[in-house]
Amino acid sequence: MSKQELIAKNPIRQLNFGVESASGSRMGLVMARAGLGKTAMLVQIALDSLLNGRQVVHVGIGQSLEKTRIWYDDIFKDIVAGCKICNPYAIYDEIMRNRMIMTFKATAFTRSRLEERLNDLVYQNVIRPGCIVVDGYDFTVVAPETLSDLRELAQVMDVQIWFSAISHRGDERTSPEGVPAPCHEVADFFDTVVLLQPDVESAWVDLKIIKDNTGGASDRLQLDPITFMVKEGL
């Protein structure tokens, strides 16, 4: 199997804003309760962008660099394990060159700091990201102005930014579109919101797209509860 086939067959394509729709900045959000696979989902989105030739910055808040790196290693292995791809090492090498992980302490992460770092990367010709994933951002304390700032940053840098957010079982508040707390009041800032929900019957995790302004994502998608890989719906 070639790299192109791998890209075409990847079910996450339905979600990720592919090359054909890459023009313009976007914001996406993956929500779930703890332990359902938010990081895995973000990493798959990042890998899809990387396979499509876009450079990626992975921002891990309150996470270690090594752990994040292992997520990429494991998920890439799972992706290639399912298909006979020629020379996976060369592809992974290429991916590594185009990916950069930044980890911050929760208190140290601000929009201005992120922008400063991204500018550094561009100025030093290290990386020019087309996609940024932000894992571990605390939405319980976020002010709408911060998200407005980040949206502006996405527009200025012409990138798509994906966030993950934890929802809580006891908190029933939602936005009119059904975006759960703590993001119910900031849902307007996102073009796409995906909710991961356990499917009681199949024990798989349903990938419910509760908001999508991009016109993609028609099929049912699910997450394998063991590998956290996105699959076409059963």
Partner: protein, 692 residues
């Protein structure tokens, strides 16, 4: 004979400049092994006792670990001082192999730095229980709580403070013992006078709070303590026992603090060593039974049992070769005969000494758990000694392959002789240091783990052996490999007078995912007679010594033979070896060979303001920035950079960051070089060949 329960074999490991040599020096002073204190870069020109090599004294770093011995509270403590630079990690690893416990020294300002991460990883590999000592609490910017957080976040240790500092920076006066809830002051000219009082009122609340955290953590290892806490009366012994249990299981790291330089907190740290670190019997060591295909067997530290000892370090001293031994089982007496399990040689124990840096004390007997030194024993590092009744070997040590080499040339005949002596000694002492003579250039090549590693040996040659050598430019150890299958069908035929030679070998070479080389025999029907199959293997192995691109060794290759032909008279071992060499060369060219270079894992630490510039410098060196970790105003940048691009980086980094950033590197993997570099290397190799 000593009571094994009262023996501690400990190491002192940490980041360079976190003050571990000064700490060791103070330990020796307070345990009355020495009577005055010297500084590492002392004004008195004496230097610290543990930095025994002249070079170490000059540079203010510890290179070769020296073993020393002291007594504290009726306990015998053997201390191995370990180097802080990553180029010498084999020394650290060797030390860890023979230790039962360790003190992880951290600077209260610098905190957990990249070398501490490497050392911690090594300690985890060898399952060494540890206590942490936060040193330099007298320095401006000291913040022990931040260091404890880093121990938890960066090293994933369950670090719990069992002390609190009384004052910090210039006001550091002592520590609060959270187990006994007492304030301890270190007074007198050298901190010899210990004054114990009630905790000062301004620290009472903080001490109560920290004690709660400590008790919560310790109670996880003792139901008895948990019950006593519910009743509100945990005793000192109960707390100590629980902390000890947690430490021994590697699930708890008690944290102590002080300042070695200002003589504060050393005596309490020694109490910590005896209270919380294991005795030899608390640790299970394993040996390999050579009669049972190297099956692992647990060693019982019985002093009455058969002798089992490991030579973990060799040194060339004033009185000949000195061999450092750790006895795991049995006893060794002066005059006893011991057997080297590797060579089978019987050796008489002549002089048996206990080492105190470069001074020594003669002893008559050494028991299980002891660290001692022998004179005049011919052996190599890692050899196991027994009394002859056991055929055991202590587990082999992990030895990385060298990644860098230098050509050296003695300046005169005298230097030539001394250099040979020095090299023979160094290769015996250090398994990561290798030397050979390049048959083509007739140059002596030394190889090791980094620029500094080799630099130190060149300096030692000059100082200890008066061997002055000219040093060539450092050379990276390149490799060649193949990227696809390449078929071969080669006939070796020679019929020009005398006995003829004939052999045909057919098959293919293909990339091997793991390992260096593999030979597969798929011959059916006897097209190559059985007696010549081994010759083919030999031929392939000879051929892979030098690749055709730049003459570097070929790795990760599988050679498969599936057909061939022989002649009843003209076929021979040599003929098939030649045929295999020709076949390999034929297949190799079809298999798209590439050049590979060593890639180093580099970690640069420094103030965040230099992050952009550092990343730029990595980028310029064909490096890949893996990621950054930002904490307050400090950033660690992790990257993978080809070794060939790292020469002179320390100077560059220093000037770029005004000396505020530092880096460490270790070998990560071999990867193929980019096309442009490959072309350049091939052109250079061609030019070199033409010159010859």
């Amino acid at each position: 004979m000593k009571d094994l329960v009262k023996v501690r074999n400990i190491g002192i490991s940490a980041h360079i400049d976190s003050g571990k040599t000064t700490l060791t020096e103070r330990i020796l002073y307070f345990t009355k092994r020495i009577h005055t204190v010297h500084e590492v870069r002392g004004k008195d020109g004496v230097g610290a006792t543990m930095d025994s090599m002249e070079l170490e004294r000059e540079r203010g770093i510890t290179i070769a670990s020296a073993a020393t011995y002291c007594n504290w509270n009726g306990h015998s403590i053997n201390i191995i001082d370990t180097p802080g630079h990553v180029d010498f990690t084999i020394e650290v690893e060797r030390a860890l192999r023979v230790l039962d416990g360790a003190v992880l020294v951290l600077c209260s300002v610098g905190g957990v730095q990249s070398q501490s991460i490497t050392v911690n990883r090594q300690m985890t590999r060898y399952r060494v229980p540890r206590i942490a000592f936060i040193n330099k609490c007298d320095r401006t910017g000291a913040n022990p709580q931040r260091v404890i957080r880093q121990l938890r976040d960066k090293l994933s240790l369950n670090a719990v403070a069992i002390q609190l500092p009384i004052g910090l920076e210039a006001d550091l006066r002592g520590v609060v013992d959270l187990v006994r809830m007492k304030a301890i002051y270190f007074e007198g000219a050298n901190g010899d006078e210990i004054r114990e009082t009630e905790i000062p009122a301004n620290l009472r609340a903080a001490a109560e709070e920290q004690r709660e955290i400590m008790l919560d953590a310790a109670s996880m290892f003792s139901d008895e303590l948990m019950e006593a806490m519910l009743e509100g009366s945990p005793s000192e012994e109960m707390i100590c026992a629980a902390i000890r249990r947690g430490t021994l299981s590697l699930e708890l790291t008690p944290v102590m603090m002080g300042s070695a330089y200002k003589n504060k907190g050393i005596q309490t740290m020694l109490d910590g060593v005896t209270d919380y670190l294991p005795a030899p019997l608390d640790v299970t060591n394993y040996a390999l039974d050579l009669d049972q295909s190297e099956a692992e067997v647990a060693v019982i530290g019985d002093p009455q049992g058969p002798l089992l000892a490991l030579a973990f370090k060799l040194e060339d001293g004033r009185y000949g070769q000195l061999t450092y031994l750790r006895t795991y089982q049995g006893t060794m007496k002066k005059g006893d005969f011991i057997v080297n399990a590797r060579t089978g040689k019987k050796i008489k124990v002549g002089r048996l000494v206990r080492m105190h840096s470069d001074q020594m004390e003669d002893i008559d007997v050494s028991g299980a758990g002891d660290i001692v030194a022998l004179f005049g024993v011919d052996c190599a590092t890692g050899d196991t000694f027994t009394d002859g009744t056991l055929n055991y070997s202590m587990s082999s040590m992990h030895v990385p392959n060298p990644v860098i080499s230098l050509a050296i040339k003695p300046v005169d005949n005298k230097a030539q002789i001394s250099m040979s002596k020095a090299l023979s000694r160094f290769t015996k002492e250090d398994p990561t240091f290798k030397t050979f003579v390049d048959v083509e250039t007739n140059e002596t090549i030394i190889s090791g783990m980094g620029e500094l590693h080799l630099e130190v040996y060149v300096e030692r040659m000059k100082r200890e052996y008066s061997a002055v050598v000219e040093v060539g430019a450092p050379q990276v150890a390149y490799r060649e490999t193949i990227t696809q299958r390449g078929d071969f069908n080669y006939t070796h035929k020679k019929q020009t007078g005398g006995a003829g030679q004939f052999g045909r070998v057919a098959g293919f070479v293909e990339p091997l995912e793991e390992g260096e080389y593999e030979f597969v025999d798929k011959i059916v029907g006897g097209s190559i007679p059985r007696e010549f199959i081994g010759s083919c293997d030999k031929g392939f192995q000879k051929a892979k010594v030098k690749g055709s691109l730049i003459g570097a060794p070929i790795t990760r290759v599988r050679c498969v033979i599936n057909d061939g032909a022989a002649h009843a008279v003209d076929s021979s071992d040599i003929a098939f070896q030649q045929a295999a060499i020709g076949a390999f060369r034929e297949g190799y060219l079809k298999a798209k060979p590439v050049i590979m270079e060593p890639i180093m894992k580099v970690a640069v630490e420094g103030p965040t303001e230099f992050q952009g510039a550092v990343m730029g410098s990595i980028n310029q060196r064909r490096g890949i920035v893996i990621g950054t970790t930002e904490e307050e105003n400090y950033t660690v940048i992790e990257a993978e950079v080809p070794l060939s691009e790292m020469f002179g980086y320390s100077t560059y980094l220093r000037s770029m960051t005004q000396g505020k950033a530092e880096f460490t590197m270790e070998f990560a993997a071999y990867r193929s070089v980019p096309k442009s570099v490959s072309e350049q290397l091939i052109a250079e190799a061609k030019k070199e060949k033409e010159k010859k």
